[in-house]
């Protein structure tokens, strides 16, 4: 189990968190490569269906940020 890595589906608001993730890059902060980012126009766009779908398709976690 030690080399098991979670896969995390991430919904980021275009206006804030997505920009923050860009800034993390500009600042060359290093973080684990387990996140797959889906850009949404607003975290309000994230329907509960998306979260369920992500889990159903094998995501180990879902992160909504906005």
């Amino acid at each position: 189990m030690n080399d098991w890595q979670p896969k995390i589906t991430t919904f980021l608001c275009h206006w804030c968190s997505y920009g923050a993730a860009d800034l993390a890059g500009v600042s060359r902060l290093q973080y684990p490569p387990n996140f797959r980012i889906i850009r949404v126009p607003c975290s309000g766009r994230v329907s509960p269906k998306f979260i369920l779908a992500a889990l159903r398709h094998g995501s180990d976690g879902v992160w909504v940020s906005g």
Binding site: K7, T9, H14, Y18, G19, A21, D22, L23, A24, G25, V26, S27, R28, L29, Q30, Y31, P33, R36, I37, I38, R39, V40, P41, C42, G44, R45, V46, S47, P48, K49, F50, A53, A54, H57, G58, S59
Partner: protein
Amino acid sequence: MVLSKTPRYIDESRCTSCGDCAEVCPVLLPSEYDQGLTTRKATFKKYAQAIPGAFAIQKADKAPCRLACPAGLNVQGYVQMVKEGKYKEALQIIMEELPLPGVLGRICPHGCEDACRRVEVDAPVAIRDLKRLAADQFDPREIEIPCAPRREERVAIVGSGPAGLSAAYHLARRGIQSVIFEALPEPGGMLRVGIPEHRLPRKVLDQEIELIRNLGVEIRTNTPLGPDLGVDDLFDMGFKAVYLAVGAHRGIELGVPGERAQGVLQGVDFLRELNLTGKVEVGNKVAVIGGGNVAIDVARSAVRLGAAEVNIIYRRTRAEMPAWEEEIHAAEEEGVKITYLSAPQEILVRDGVVAGLRCIRMELGEPDSSGRRRPIPIPGSEYDIEIDQLIPAIGQTPDLSALEDIAGLEFTRWGTIEVDAATYATAREGVFAGGDLQTGPWVAIGAVAAGREAAESIERYLDGRDLAEGREPVRLESPVYRPIPVDEPKKPRAKMPELPAQERKTGFSEVELGYEEEIGKEEADRCLNCGYCCECFQCVEACGADAVSVETHSRMPESVELEVGAVILAPGFQPFDPSRFETYAYTSHPNVITSMEFERILSASGPTMGHLVRMSDHAEPKKIAWLQCVGSRDINRCDHGYCSSVCCMYAVKEAVIAKEHAGADLDCALFFMDMRTHGKDFERYYEAAREKHGVRFVRSRVHTLDPAEDGHSVVVKYSDEQGLFVEETFDMVVLSVGLETSEDVRELARKLDVRLSEGAFCLTDSFRPVATSREGIFACGAFQGPKDIPQSVIEASSAAAEAGALLAPARGELTREKEVPEELDIRGRRPRVGVFVCQCGINIGGVVDVPAVRDYAATLPYVEYVADNLYSCSQDTQEAMTAVIKEKDLNRIVVAACTPKTHEPLFQETLVNAGLNKYLFEMTNIRNQDSWVHKDDPESATEKAKDLVRMAVAKVALMEPLQETRLKINKRALVLGGGVSGMVSAKSLSTQGYEVCLVEKNGELGGQAVNLFRTWKGEDVKERLETLIRSVQEDPRIDVRLDTELVAVDGFVGNFKTDLRSGGKTDQVEHGIAVIATGGREWKPDEYLYGQDPRVVTHLELDRKFLEGDEAVKKARSAVFIQCVGSREEERPYCSRVCCTHSMESALHLKELNPEMDVYILYRDIRTYGERERLYRKAREAGVIFIRYGVDQKPRVSAGKDALEIEVVDHVLERPVVIRADLLALASAIVPGDTAAVSRMFKVPVNEDGFYVEAHAKLGPSEFATDGVFLCGLAHYPKPMDESVAQAQAAAGRACTLLARDSIQVSGTVAYADPTLCSSCGVCVDVCPYGAPSFVSEGPFAGKAEINPVLCKGCGLCVASCRSGAINLRGFEEGQIMSMIEEI
């Protein structure tokens, strides 16, 4: 107007903001953005989110060391390279000018070090020794010297000293071959024969001559000029030009009797013989005459050759001695005796041989032409010494014997050759000369420079070009350099390791051993980088996008001339620098920081990534103190009498955020005089800080900060409100620094002839708050007066409106229509996806395996074309993409590159150019969110990139072309409210050329201003108001509707239909925008005997009495003001903002009317923000008495027999005080008018106090979230006249951004509803902040939801909240997002 534009030195259009240039830049500077808490490079971006993202280079004038060097070596550049351990690069920089780095690295007298500004901190940087270190660490022979293609012409050079060698080197680089004719058996000139080996090992010289020979230079030794070889002979031999550089090798005689005796040998002759043969005859007792380096060289050589006694005789003192101090010191160490203030008079000769020397003592007289004090013989002080060898070394002169007869050459009276100062051309065509032959004995680097210049001249001569053009010497009158940091720590200059003195005498081993690498790097790190950028050009090497080059580096400031109709000044403020207050220990204590620094510490992108620590030991603080009014409200120490307006609020905010970061146990204390939280919702925040977050507020005066014993904490010593002296220790102290106008901005104001106020802010008028004293120039923001963001943004829009009014007649004149190719109809076609994967130089390609990602993309469904680009955003790639889209008939595009936030519009334009709808595009971020953040895990980064591309391809295949709805704009405006705000707004819209319907519910215009007496600046309100009303009434574009009410509003931005009712009749007005200026009113108090006793009045009532000249007021013996009546209480927990200032004005007016009157102001906090503080000071000076009360101990008012009796508990005395007064003025709150109806009709929100809620507290203060509806004045929040006027103009200015257009185009990314699925629940209507969804009113789908695409902002809130799945969002359709989720 003429602007001076500083170049960026980087081509903005090519820069991809990857930062590779900054990575290699060696120059570290404090980061202004992080308030100096971190560093940045000279190549930099101000902060990570900066727009445009392109980097820039900071430069000042060329560093003083570089200017001081005769050859102009880029000293700062190579010093920085040495600091980085990049010795090869250091040599490349040095050898741009100088082919002899190891030689000059030893023997150069380093004029650069004399110019080094580090001396102002401690001692100059050891520049020469660092040059040597570079040459020690990397063999200069290995440096590749770029040379132009070889030409046919050959040049003869006479003399192989530094001038000749340099000329040959620089000619070779220009492709011109030369032959050097050298008289002596070995090349090198004075470098070889004038300098003993203990200073310059032969090997070093040989190697560097070798590198010159390697360029094809031929050196013929033992070939002197003479009868057999003259200049004519050289031309006859086919040389096209001749360079004469024979040096100055003849020693100057002393001119005393006995100089021909045996045992007298010239210093230069002594050294030449020694250097060429390895030996020379030396006496037992040697006297050396002179004080230069030659004298020292001779003396030190004599010691090595076995002389028992070596005595240097010098006629001045050590202070005047031209030899280098380290040389003199070394000579003494080696046993050389130096006799100062003595001169030879006669050489005592016995049998033709030197036997002694008669000397005379000297004393120093007046300074001579060289600035040194002239030595004067002391009569009768002669004395004799016994010697057997005398070596004069008082100077050299060129030996002209072989040149004198050459036709066409001219000589000076000092025995040197005559040449043109810039071109080094002699009087004879084709013959050039330089070096010591031209200057007389001078430094080697001077000869090197002369050689280079001669090479330039010779090339021009061979080309037949003008020799002099463009070579005039440039002299900088007052160069501008990086200021030396005040806190630059002292670092001692590195000592050069030396051979022990006892080991030196036995031979000519090199004495100076050279720096160890680490020591050298540290030494180089002492460089202050005077010029900022050091021009090492490492960035040029590093930039893969060709955005920075030697050409961009050499750009000059540009003068830009603009023809403009208006100017807006928004130069901002500078934070007050507390360094000048010793009591605050800011410079001496690391844990005393400014609020600006604290902001950075709290920031996630700051120096500690938002981790709250103190700077001295990075420990988490447990107690933090804020000191208010640092640099504000202080005329004793800093000359800033004004209040900076923003510090109370930001300090409260900082304290709350600090507690949020560090947890509730963090103790935050604010030391303040008056808490000024007068902005909208600020008072609530202040209350929450105190009550909910437990921030302590200490009303006090702080007098000193002292370091605590633990070495980290700070002891705050202050007096509390009762005047008691208290000490408390904190881990950290934050100085809440104020705002001030910088000297630069004051200078700008002087240049523009714009008048400033007492506090050095821009002087403006309350009725034109952004107009400066000069017509057509407007000011906004903190330059207009200290203020916060909302007010600054209001003024910004206000200034835009003022400028717009001036420019209205010219509107649209300079606009150009963009040509767009016709869009292809791709409906019904199978997706053909093109995937472009960007390398971004090495930014993506260095981590992610881009070819692998590209090849992987080719395997995905619908993908027809894949490519990888070095820089996808470059102009040529854009063109190539357009072509390939057309050629391959692609109809969906994916770009895997950087972030869509900056680059999506660019690629969308490429699609449009290729005839595709711009929404058939998906961008995926494999740089900012992949390669940059997973640098150490290329494998995972590549996998992630593949996943992201797969997700993007899945989504893009489902993308459909979207239409951007166009909507016509009705250019008429509706302004609701006929007060000052409404009228100013209407007037502003009308001057910009738009028709306005101004609706006022009462029978007259003027609103609350009718009751006002004066503004805080002293302007007469009545007079100005009448002018305004008249101008509105007379304006043909303004349709004034009095006694009119709003009945109904229909429509939306650009197309409103509003029903108005007047006198029982209703009519409809169509308009494109609406400004809501429904105002506010004074609260009628229910306390303090108001309404019961005629002596108790409100502010407005008192103003009316002033206007009417009421006699009773004048006769009052005593007047009292009570502040915060109805404000800052539970029922109305906001500050009414204007009342403190109003009371000051009224109190001062009472004192004007009757100076004998006793005037009291009972207050909770005095909030005379900004320059209004002056009124508070004037009131105190006028004798107004201020008594503070607490909200829990409010004053009590009773009607006494012949006066009112007001009892208040004085906070200082802690005892009740009774004041008898004839007049009591209540500073009553401002409450909004009736906002409920308008709020409902225009679908705009109001807050719990009844004021309207703007779109954004900071960035959208004059508009509603609902498009096309704007607000201003008291309806927004209580505010004084000048701020109401500014906001009224701002609302008009914002409205004009819509009215100026014939139509608006909305984004294609909007929500849409399917009425067949809609269950009419209404959730979408409720959740939408923009009022876009509504119910269909008629037809088959009546009652179902529909969404107005014009109002929709595309957030998708309604989509996610729709329980029927009836709503979807174009561009982010459910199916599209699901397809991405499925591909994860």
